[in-house]
Amino acid sequence: MLRDDTDKYLPLTESTCYIMLTLVEPLHGYAVMKKVEEISKGTVKVGPGTLYGAFTLLEKEGMIVKVKEENRRKSYVLTPKGKKALVNQIKRLEIMTQNGLSVMDML
């Protein structure tokens, strides 16, 4: 398992993980909400209170950065630190998924 300075943020919550996944490209808040719902096939919906809190926290921790602001809408994108945290999270989830699939026929 990779150990680095992003370990303390793991595991990310499901919402945070999805929010970060959408920010591989610059997006503003509402676009993030729509995209999360779409790529999660409707399993995850992020409310504006949750999203605002996540943006504030992720920006403070240097995982995302503001790239644009127009019509009172800020767009954010992942930073290298954010990408690293997300990669580590994905690896964790992959291990869990493999574990799950290996016992699937016993469930």
Binding site: G29, Y30, V46, G47, G49, T50, G53, N71
Partner: protein, 177 residues
């Protein structure tokens, strides 16, 4: 004041926010819609058609510029901004099928909201201790009102202590979910 508005002074404990939201919804169902909020805890309601509005409360402090961005995000998600009372932000939305009715969609962010309120309560609690320490309540002092002030300080301090304990318990309860 016009006949079609009423003013209510209403106060609620921060861990009873969901009950407050439910009460505001029931007012709208009766045709009284929250039109503005103001300090110290004044609600203005305007009469209208009976509507099913849900109300949601957030707790946020920020500079003015961030506030516009914050309100825009909620507006984009279909929420109407009503106003704020000391950092408590009021939003509402009409209940429709397939419309998400929550502003917090996970337990973590709900807890984070209570923690922001808790930080504010702790701040006041500490200020009270530093600025107005309760120096023992006795009646043999130079001024007759001294004892009264001390009792008053003690009561306010107890009030904050109680709020901190109850809010911490609410957070713990949510963590178990």
């Amino acid at each position: 004041m016009a006949e079609n508005t009423i003013r209510k002074i209403k106060w609620f404990w921060p861990w009873r926010d969901e009950q407050e939201e439910a009460w505001l919804r029931s007012m709208s169902q009766k045709g009284w819609h929250l039109s503005s909020v103001g300090l110290p805890c004044i609600y203005r309601f305007r009469a209208g058609e009976q509507m099913d509005y849900v109300y949601r409360l957030d707790y946020q402090t920020f500079p003015k510029k961030d506030k516009q961005e914050y309100q825009q995000l909620f507006r984009d998600a279909g929420w109407e901004y009503i106003g704020e009372i000391s950092a408590c932000q009021y939003f509402r939305k009409e209940v429709k099928e397939a419309e998400p009715l929550e502003i917090f969609t996970d337990v973590g962010s709900k807890i984070a909201k209570y923690k922001r309120i808790l930080a504010f309560l702790w701040f006041f609690w500490i200020v009270l201790i530093v600025v107005f320490p309760v120096r023992g309540i006795s009646m043999d002092n130079p001024y007759p009102w001294w004892g009264a002030i001390q009792v008053f300080n003690l009561l306010i301090w107890l009030f904050f202590t109680y709020a901190i304990i109850r809010l911490s318990l609410r957070i713990r309860q949510l963590r178990k979910l």
